[in-house]
Symmetry: C3
Subunit: 151 residues, 3 copies
Amino acid sequence: MTLEDLERRVRAVEDRLAIIDVIASYGPSADSADGPWLRSLWAADGDYSFDTTRMPAAELEGLVELPSHQDYLAAGCGHLLTTPHIVIDGDRATAVNHSVVLVHEGDAWKPDRLSANRWELVRTDDGWSVQRRTNSLLDGRAAARGLLGRP
Amino acid sequence: MTLEDLERRVRAVEDRLAIIDVIASYGPSADSADGPWLRSLWAADGDYSFDTTRMPAAELEGLVELPSHQDYLAAGCGHLLTTPHIVIDGDRATAVNHSVVLVHEGDAWKPDRLSANRWELVRTDDGWSVQRRTNSLLDGRAAARGLLGRP
Amino acid sequence: MTLEDLERRVRAVEDRLAIIDVIASYGPSADSADGPWLRSLWAADGDYSFDTTRMPAAELEGLVELPSHQDYLAAGCGHLLTTPHIVIDGDRATAVNHSVVLVHEGDAWKPDRLSANRWELVRTDDGWSVQRRTNSLLDGRAAARGLLGRP
Protein backbone atom coordinates (compact mmCIF):
# COMPACT_ATOMS: atom_id res chain seq x y z
CA MET A 1 0.00 0.00 0.00
CA THR A 2 1.22 3.48 -0.84
CA LEU A 3 0.37 6.87 0.59
CA GLU A 4 -1.59 7.55 -2.62
CA ASP A 5 -3.67 4.40 -2.17
CA LEU A 6 -4.50 5.40 1.37
CA GLU A 7 -5.34 8.95 0.30
CA ARG A 8 -7.95 7.56 -2.10
CA ARG A 9 -9.54 5.61 0.73
CA VAL A 10 -9.55 8.67 2.99
CA ARG A 11 -11.16 10.69 0.24
CA ALA A 12 -13.91 8.08 -0.08
CA VAL A 13 -14.80 8.30 3.61
CA GLU A 14 -14.62 12.10 3.52
CA ASP A 15 -17.04 12.06 0.58
CA ARG A 16 -19.48 9.81 2.40
CA LEU A 17 -19.42 11.91 5.57
CA ALA A 18 -19.81 15.13 3.58
CA ILE A 19 -22.91 13.76 1.86
CA ILE A 20 -24.37 12.57 5.16
CA ASP A 21 -23.81 16.06 6.55
CA VAL A 22 -25.39 17.87 3.57
CA ILE A 23 -28.55 15.80 3.91
CA ALA A 24 -28.53 16.17 7.72
CA SER A 25 -28.50 19.95 7.20
CA TYR A 26 -31.82 20.09 5.36
CA GLY A 27 -34.07 19.68 8.41
CA PRO A 28 -32.30 22.26 10.60
CA SER A 29 -32.19 24.76 7.70
CA ALA A 30 -35.91 24.30 6.99
CA ASP A 31 -36.98 24.43 10.64
CA SER A 32 -34.81 27.43 11.52
CA ALA A 33 -36.30 29.10 8.41
CA ASP A 34 -32.83 29.92 7.08
CA GLY A 35 -33.44 30.27 3.33
CA PRO A 36 -29.84 31.09 2.37
CA TRP A 37 -28.54 28.08 4.30
CA LEU A 38 -31.15 25.79 2.74
CA ARG A 39 -30.33 27.07 -0.74
CA SER A 40 -26.60 26.64 -0.14
CA LEU A 41 -27.09 22.87 0.08
CA TRP A 42 -27.94 22.80 -3.63
CA ALA A 43 -25.70 23.26 -6.67
CA ALA A 44 -26.38 26.56 -8.48
CA ASP A 45 -28.21 24.75 -11.29
CA GLY A 46 -29.84 22.11 -9.10
CA ASP A 47 -33.52 21.64 -8.33
CA TYR A 48 -36.00 20.20 -5.85
CA SER A 49 -39.18 18.41 -6.91
CA PHE A 50 -41.99 17.63 -4.47
CA ASP A 51 -45.68 16.92 -5.04
CA THR A 52 -46.40 18.69 -8.35
CA THR A 53 -43.83 21.45 -7.75
CA ARG A 54 -40.33 21.76 -9.19
CA MET A 55 -38.24 24.55 -7.69
CA PRO A 56 -34.90 25.52 -9.21
CA ALA A 57 -32.12 26.16 -6.70
CA ALA A 58 -32.34 29.90 -7.35
CA GLU A 59 -35.84 29.90 -5.83
CA LEU A 60 -35.11 27.65 -2.86
CA GLU A 61 -34.26 30.56 -0.60
CA GLY A 62 -37.97 31.36 -0.73
CA LEU A 63 -39.10 27.88 0.26
CA VAL A 64 -39.21 28.82 3.94
CA GLU A 65 -41.39 31.84 3.09
CA LEU A 66 -44.16 29.78 1.46
CA PRO A 67 -47.48 30.06 3.35
CA SER A 68 -47.54 26.28 3.90
CA HIS A 69 -44.08 26.42 5.48
CA GLN A 70 -44.91 29.48 7.59
CA ASP A 71 -48.01 27.67 8.89
CA TYR A 72 -45.83 24.73 9.88
CA LEU A 73 -43.37 26.99 11.72
CA ALA A 74 -46.13 28.85 13.57
CA ALA A 75 -47.73 25.60 14.72
CA GLY A 76 -44.38 24.00 15.60
CA CYS A 77 -42.82 21.52 13.21
CA GLY A 78 -39.87 19.28 12.50
CA HIS A 79 -38.53 18.03 9.18
CA LEU A 80 -36.86 14.75 10.19
CA LEU A 81 -34.72 12.85 7.69
CA THR A 82 -33.20 9.41 8.07
CA THR A 83 -29.54 8.74 7.34
CA PRO A 84 -29.36 7.92 3.63
CA HIS A 85 -28.03 4.87 1.87
CA ILE A 86 -25.36 6.32 -0.43
CA VAL A 87 -23.66 5.12 -3.61
CA ILE A 88 -20.74 7.24 -4.83
CA ASP A 89 -19.44 7.12 -8.41
CA GLY A 90 -16.52 9.52 -8.84
CA ASP A 91 -17.83 13.08 -8.68
CA ARG A 92 -21.48 11.97 -8.59
CA ALA A 93 -23.51 10.23 -5.92
CA THR A 94 -27.03 8.94 -5.37
CA ALA A 95 -28.66 8.74 -1.96
CA VAL A 96 -32.06 7.44 -0.84
CA ASN A 97 -33.83 8.05 2.45
CA HIS A 98 -37.10 8.87 4.20
CA SER A 99 -38.35 12.19 5.53
CA VAL A 100 -41.25 12.92 7.81
CA VAL A 101 -42.76 16.25 8.81
CA LEU A 102 -44.21 16.34 12.31
CA VAL A 103 -46.59 19.20 13.18
CA HIS A 104 -47.80 20.25 16.62
CA GLU A 105 -51.51 19.58 17.08
CA GLY A 106 -53.33 19.38 20.40
CA ASP A 107 -51.08 17.73 22.97
CA ALA A 108 -48.95 15.84 20.45
CA TRP A 109 -47.24 16.03 17.06
CA LYS A 110 -48.90 14.68 13.93
CA PRO A 111 -46.92 12.96 11.14
CA ASP A 112 -48.31 15.21 8.41
CA ARG A 113 -46.08 14.14 5.52
CA LEU A 114 -44.10 10.93 5.04
CA SER A 115 -41.98 10.94 1.90
CA ALA A 116 -39.50 8.94 -0.11
CA ASN A 117 -36.46 10.92 -1.25
CA ARG A 118 -33.93 10.36 -3.99
CA TRP A 119 -30.94 12.68 -4.05
CA GLU A 120 -28.51 13.16 -6.91
CA LEU A 121 -25.38 14.87 -5.61
CA VAL A 122 -22.36 16.33 -7.29
CA ARG A 123 -18.85 17.25 -6.15
CA THR A 124 -18.28 20.99 -6.61
CA ASP A 125 -15.45 23.36 -5.72
CA ASP A 126 -17.36 24.00 -2.48
CA GLY A 127 -17.79 20.33 -1.62
CA TRP A 128 -20.77 18.05 -2.22
CA SER A 129 -24.01 19.69 -3.33
CA VAL A 130 -27.50 18.54 -4.23
CA GLN A 131 -28.07 18.47 -7.98
CA ARG A 132 -31.57 17.09 -7.71
CA ARG A 133 -33.83 16.03 -4.87
CA THR A 134 -37.06 14.25 -5.70
CA ASN A 135 -39.59 13.85 -2.88
CA SER A 136 -42.89 11.99 -3.10
CA LEU A 137 -45.50 11.15 -0.48
CA LEU A 138 -45.58 7.53 0.65
CA ASP A 139 -49.37 7.31 0.42
CA GLY A 140 -49.50 4.06 -1.54
CA ARG A 141 -48.49 5.34 -4.98
CA ALA A 142 -45.91 3.18 -6.74
CA ALA A 143 -43.87 6.16 -7.95
CA ALA A 144 -42.96 7.10 -4.37
CA ARG A 145 -41.80 3.58 -3.58
CA GLY A 146 -39.75 3.64 -6.77
CA LEU A 147 -37.70 6.60 -5.51
CA LEU A 148 -36.32 4.32 -2.80
CA GLY A 149 -35.11 1.77 -5.37
CA ARG A 150 -31.55 0.49 -5.14
CA PRO A 151 -29.20 3.13 -6.63
CA MET B 1 3.18 7.05 13.21
CA THR B 2 3.66 4.75 10.26
CA LEU B 3 1.63 4.21 7.12
CA GLU B 4 0.49 0.90 8.62
CA ASP B 5 -0.77 2.63 11.78
CA LEU B 6 -2.73 5.08 9.71
CA GLU B 7 -4.14 2.32 7.51
CA ARG B 8 -5.56 0.66 10.62
CA ARG B 9 -7.31 3.90 11.57
CA VAL B 10 -8.68 4.32 8.06
CA ARG B 11 -9.98 0.77 8.13
CA ALA B 12 -11.79 1.50 11.40
CA VAL B 13 -13.64 4.48 9.91
CA GLU B 14 -14.41 2.53 6.74
CA ASP B 15 -15.88 -0.24 8.91
CA ARG B 16 -18.07 2.17 10.83
CA LEU B 17 -19.37 3.87 7.69
CA ALA B 18 -20.03 0.52 6.01
CA ILE B 19 -22.12 -0.63 8.98
CA ILE B 20 -24.05 2.65 9.05
CA ASP B 21 -24.79 2.16 5.34
CA VAL B 22 -25.92 -1.47 5.68
CA ILE B 23 -28.42 -0.50 8.37
CA ALA B 24 -29.50 2.60 6.40
CA SER B 25 -30.30 0.29 3.48
CA TYR B 26 -32.93 -1.72 5.33
CA GLY B 27 -35.73 0.87 5.12
CA PRO B 28 -35.31 1.65 1.41
CA SER B 29 -35.08 -2.06 0.55
CA ALA B 30 -38.25 -2.84 2.55
CA ASP B 31 -40.24 0.12 1.23
CA SER B 32 -39.21 -0.38 -2.40
CA ALA B 33 -40.20 -4.05 -1.91
CA ASP B 34 -36.83 -5.23 -3.22
CA GLY B 35 -36.50 -8.68 -1.67
CA PRO B 36 -33.10 -9.55 -3.20
CA TRP B 37 -31.65 -6.25 -1.99
CA LEU B 38 -33.07 -6.74 1.51
CA ARG B 39 -31.72 -10.28 1.65
CA SER B 40 -28.29 -9.14 0.46
CA LEU B 41 -27.85 -7.13 3.66
CA TRP B 42 -27.64 -10.38 5.63
CA ALA B 43 -24.88 -12.98 5.77
CA ALA B 44 -25.86 -16.26 4.06
CA ASP B 45 -26.36 -17.98 7.43
CA GLY B 46 -27.79 -14.96 9.24
CA ASP B 47 -31.29 -14.46 10.59
CA TYR B 48 -33.89 -11.87 11.56
CA SER B 49 -36.11 -12.25 14.63
CA PHE B 50 -39.17 -10.07 15.19
CA ASP B 51 -42.27 -10.62 17.32
CA THR B 52 -42.52 -14.41 17.55
CA THR B 53 -40.98 -15.00 14.10
CA ARG B 54 -37.42 -16.01 13.23
CA MET B 55 -36.60 -15.87 9.55
CA PRO B 56 -33.32 -17.32 8.23
CA ALA B 57 -31.57 -15.15 5.63
CA ALA B 58 -32.55 -17.59 2.89
CA GLU B 59 -36.22 -16.67 3.44
CA LEU B 60 -35.75 -12.91 3.78
CA GLU B 61 -36.30 -12.32 0.08
CA GLY B 62 -39.92 -13.23 0.78
CA LEU B 63 -40.35 -10.77 3.64
CA VAL B 64 -41.66 -8.08 1.29
CA GLU B 65 -44.25 -10.54 -0.08
CA LEU B 66 -45.86 -11.24 3.32
CA PRO B 67 -49.51 -10.12 3.43
CA SER B 68 -48.75 -7.77 6.33
CA HIS B 69 -45.98 -6.10 4.32
CA GLN B 70 -48.10 -5.89 1.16
CA ASP B 71 -50.86 -4.20 3.17
CA TYR B 72 -48.35 -1.66 4.43
CA LEU B 73 -47.12 -0.93 0.89
CA ALA B 74 -50.65 -0.56 -0.49
CA ALA B 75 -51.61 1.88 2.26
CA GLY B 76 -48.33 3.80 2.03
CA CYS B 77 -45.61 3.14 4.58
CA GLY B 78 -42.11 3.96 5.72
CA HIS B 79 -39.67 1.86 7.72
CA LEU B 80 -37.55 4.53 9.42
CA LEU B 81 -34.41 3.55 11.34
CA THR B 82 -32.22 5.76 13.48
CA THR B 83 -28.46 5.86 13.09
CA PRO B 84 -27.10 3.09 15.32
CA HIS B 85 -24.62 3.24 18.15
CA ILE B 86 -21.90 0.82 17.01
CA VAL B 87 -19.17 -1.13 18.79
CA ILE B 88 -16.68 -2.92 16.53
CA ASP B 89 -14.49 -5.79 17.73
CA GLY B 90 -12.26 -7.03 14.91
CA ASP B 91 -14.44 -8.80 12.35
CA ARG B 92 -17.56 -8.58 14.51
CA ALA B 93 -19.72 -5.64 15.50
CA THR B 94 -22.82 -4.92 17.56
CA ALA B 95 -25.18 -2.04 16.81
CA VAL B 96 -28.31 -0.81 18.62
CA ASN B 97 -30.98 1.51 17.29
CA HIS B 98 -34.69 2.27 17.00
CA SER B 99 -37.04 1.63 14.11
CA VAL B 100 -40.53 2.93 13.52
CA VAL B 101 -43.05 1.97 10.85
CA LEU B 102 -45.35 4.79 9.76
CA VAL B 103 -48.51 3.86 7.83
CA HIS B 104 -50.82 6.17 5.90
CA GLU B 105 -54.22 6.49 7.55
CA GLY B 106 -56.74 9.26 6.91
CA ASP B 107 -54.90 12.54 6.37
CA ALA B 108 -51.76 11.54 8.31
CA TRP B 109 -49.34 8.70 9.02
CA LYS B 110 -49.71 6.51 12.09
CA PRO B 111 -46.70 5.16 14.02
CA ASP B 112 -47.85 1.54 13.83
CA ARG B 113 -44.73 -0.18 15.19
CA LEU B 114 -41.94 1.21 17.37
CA SER B 115 -39.14 -1.26 17.98
CA ALA B 116 -35.80 -1.71 19.62
CA ASN B 117 -33.18 -3.37 17.43
CA ARG B 118 -29.95 -5.18 18.21
CA TRP B 119 -27.76 -6.06 15.26
CA GLU B 120 -24.85 -8.51 15.26
CA LEU B 121 -22.73 -7.89 12.17
CA VAL B 122 -19.84 -9.74 10.63
CA ARG B 123 -17.11 -8.82 8.14
CA THR B 124 -17.41 -11.01 5.04
CA ASP B 125 -15.62 -11.11 1.70
CA ASP B 126 -18.42 -8.85 0.42
CA GLY B 127 -18.11 -6.34 3.24
CA TRP B 128 -20.13 -6.05 6.44
CA SER B 129 -23.28 -8.16 6.70
CA VAL B 130 -25.99 -8.74 9.27
CA GLN B 131 -25.51 -12.00 11.16
CA ARG B 132 -28.49 -11.46 13.42
CA ARG B 133 -31.07 -8.74 13.84
CA THR B 134 -33.41 -8.92 16.82
CA ASN B 135 -36.40 -6.57 16.81
CA SER B 136 -38.95 -6.20 19.60
CA LEU B 137 -41.86 -3.79 20.07
CA LEU B 138 -41.30 -1.04 22.62
CA ASP B 139 -44.71 -1.53 24.22
CA GLY B 140 -43.50 -1.63 27.81
CA ARG B 141 -41.96 -5.09 27.88
CA ALA B 142 -38.55 -5.27 29.55
CA ALA B 143 -37.09 -7.56 26.88
CA ALA B 144 -37.42 -4.86 24.23
CA ARG B 145 -35.66 -2.30 26.41
CA GLY B 146 -32.93 -4.86 27.02
CA LEU B 147 -32.10 -5.02 23.31
CA LEU B 148 -30.95 -1.42 23.54
CA GLY B 149 -28.52 -2.22 26.35
CA ARG B 150 -24.93 -1.01 26.06
CA PRO B 151 -23.04 -3.34 23.70
CA MET C 1 0.90 15.29 0.48
CA THR C 2 2.69 13.93 3.52
CA LEU C 3 1.75 11.28 6.04
CA GLU C 4 1.14 14.10 8.55
CA ASP C 5 -1.30 15.83 6.17
CA LEU C 6 -3.19 12.61 5.72
CA GLU C 7 -3.23 11.95 9.46
CA ARG C 8 -4.95 15.30 9.99
CA ARG C 9 -7.64 14.32 7.51
CA VAL C 10 -8.11 10.93 9.16
CA ARG C 11 -8.43 12.61 12.53
CA ALA C 12 -11.16 14.88 11.12
CA VAL C 13 -13.25 11.92 9.95
CA GLU C 14 -12.63 10.06 13.22
CA ASP C 15 -13.86 13.15 15.10
CA ARG C 16 -17.02 13.37 13.02
CA LEU C 17 -17.85 9.69 13.42
CA ALA C 18 -17.16 9.82 17.16
CA ILE C 19 -19.59 12.73 17.56
CA ILE C 20 -22.25 10.95 15.48
CA ASP C 21 -21.83 7.92 17.75
CA VAL C 22 -22.05 9.89 21.00
CA ILE C 23 -25.33 11.45 19.92
CA ALA C 24 -26.61 8.10 18.57
CA SER C 25 -26.00 6.65 22.04
CA TYR C 26 -28.42 8.95 23.83
CA GLY C 27 -31.63 7.20 22.75
CA PRO C 28 -30.46 3.66 23.56
CA SER C 29 -29.07 4.79 26.93
CA ALA C 30 -32.34 6.54 27.83
CA ASP C 31 -34.60 3.72 26.65
CA SER C 32 -32.57 0.96 28.27
CA ALA C 33 -32.68 3.09 31.45
CA ASP C 34 -28.91 2.90 31.83
CA GLY C 35 -28.13 5.99 33.89
CA PRO C 36 -24.35 5.48 34.11
CA TRP C 37 -24.14 5.04 30.32
CA LEU C 38 -26.27 8.13 29.71
CA ARG C 39 -24.14 10.17 32.12
CA SER C 40 -20.94 8.95 30.49
CA LEU C 41 -21.88 10.76 27.28
CA TRP C 42 -21.37 14.07 29.05
CA ALA C 43 -18.18 15.81 30.17
CA ALA C 44 -17.81 15.85 33.97
CA ASP C 45 -18.72 19.55 34.13
CA GLY C 46 -21.30 19.45 31.33
CA ASP C 47 -25.04 19.98 31.55
CA TYR C 48 -28.38 19.26 29.89
CA SER C 49 -31.15 21.84 29.64
CA PHE C 50 -34.70 20.92 28.65
CA ASP C 51 -38.01 22.69 29.28
CA THR C 52 -37.31 24.75 32.42
CA THR C 53 -34.85 22.24 33.87
CA ARG C 54 -31.05 22.37 33.84
CA MET C 55 -29.34 19.20 35.03
CA PRO C 56 -25.59 19.13 35.66
CA ALA C 57 -23.82 16.03 34.38
CA ALA C 58 -23.38 14.77 37.92
CA GLU C 59 -27.17 14.40 38.21
CA LEU C 60 -27.78 12.87 34.79
CA GLU C 61 -27.46 9.33 36.09
CA GLY C 62 -30.79 9.98 37.82
CA LEU C 63 -32.57 11.18 34.66
CA VAL C 64 -33.85 7.69 33.92
CA GLU C 65 -35.28 7.46 37.46
CA LEU C 66 -37.49 10.54 37.12
CA PRO C 67 -41.21 9.68 37.42
CA SER C 68 -41.86 11.11 33.94
CA HIS C 69 -39.18 8.84 32.46
CA GLN C 70 -40.37 5.79 34.41
CA ASP C 71 -43.90 6.41 33.10
CA TYR C 72 -42.53 6.48 29.56
CA LEU C 73 -40.65 3.20 30.07
CA ALA C 74 -43.67 1.46 31.60
CA ALA C 75 -45.91 2.50 28.71
CA GLY C 76 -43.27 1.71 26.07
CA CYS C 77 -41.26 4.53 24.56
CA GLY C 78 -38.50 5.47 22.16
CA HIS C 79 -36.23 8.51 22.18
CA LEU C 80 -35.40 8.88 18.47
CA LEU C 81 -32.72 11.35 17.36
CA THR C 82 -31.81 12.34 13.83
CA THR C 83 -28.23 12.35 12.60
CA PRO C 84 -26.85 15.80 13.46
CA HIS C 85 -25.33 18.43 11.25
CA ILE C 86 -21.88 18.95 12.80
CA VAL C 87 -19.32 21.75 12.69
CA ILE C 88 -15.95 20.97 14.28
CA ASP C 89 -13.49 23.65 15.38
CA GLY C 90 -10.36 22.09 16.86
CA ASP C 91 -11.25 20.53 20.20
CA ARG C 92 -14.80 21.93 20.17
CA ALA C 93 -17.80 21.09 18.03
CA THR C 94 -21.42 22.16 17.63
CA ALA C 95 -24.15 19.84 16.39
CA VAL C 96 -27.84 20.45 15.69
CA ASN C 97 -30.58 17.86 15.27
CA HIS C 98 -34.15 16.83 16.07
CA SER C 99 -35.40 14.41 18.69
CA VAL C 100 -38.84 12.89 19.08
CA VAL C 101 -40.22 10.79 21.92
CA LEU C 102 -42.80 8.20 20.86
CA VAL C 103 -45.00 6.66 23.56
CA HIS C 104 -47.22 3.60 23.30
CA GLU C 105 -50.90 4.49 23.50
CA GLY C 106 -53.79 2.29 22.38
CA ASP C 107 -52.77 0.41 19.22
CA ALA C 108 -50.11 2.91 18.13
CA TRP C 109 -47.31 5.18 19.33
CA LYS C 110 -47.91 8.88 19.96
CA PRO C 111 -45.27 11.53 19.17
CA ASP C 112 -45.37 13.05 22.66
CA ARG C 113 -42.39 15.41 22.40
CA LEU C 114 -40.73 16.89 19.32
CA SER C 115 -37.67 18.95 20.12
CA ALA C 116 -34.86 20.96 18.63
CA ASN C 117 -31.42 20.17 20.03
CA ARG C 118 -28.16 22.08 20.09
CA TRP C 119 -25.12 20.21 21.31
CA GLU C 120 -21.80 21.74 22.33
CA LEU C 121 -19.17 19.00 22.40
CA VAL C 122 -15.59 18.91 23.60
CA ARG C 123 -12.64 16.61 22.99
CA THR C 124 -11.53 14.99 26.25
CA ASP C 125 -8.96 12.37 27.15
CA ASP C 126 -11.79 9.83 26.79
CA GLY C 127 -12.89 11.06 23.39
CA TRP C 128 -15.70 13.46 22.47
CA SER C 129 -18.16 14.37 25.20
CA VAL C 130 -21.21 16.58 25.52
CA GLN C 131 -20.44 19.87 27.25
CA ARG C 132 -23.94 21.24 26.86
CA ARG C 133 -27.15 19.98 25.31
CA THR C 134 -30.07 22.36 24.99
CA ASN C 135 -33.44 20.86 24.08
CA SER C 136 -36.63 22.81 23.45
CA LEU C 137 -40.08 21.72 22.28
CA LEU C 138 -40.94 22.60 18.69
CA ASP C 139 -44.41 23.86 19.59
CA GLY C 140 -44.20 27.13 17.70
CA ARG C 141 -41.91 29.09 20.00
CA ALA C 142 -39.12 30.97 18.23
CA ALA C 143 -36.48 29.96 20.79
CA ALA C 144 -36.79 26.30 19.81
CA ARG C 145 -36.38 27.10 16.11
CA GLY C 146 -33.34 29.20 17.02
CA LEU C 147 -31.55 26.18 18.48
CA LEU C 148 -31.47 24.70 14.98
CA GLY C 149 -29.73 27.79 13.58
CA ARG C 150 -26.63 27.33 11.45
CA PRO C 151 -23.63 26.66 13.74
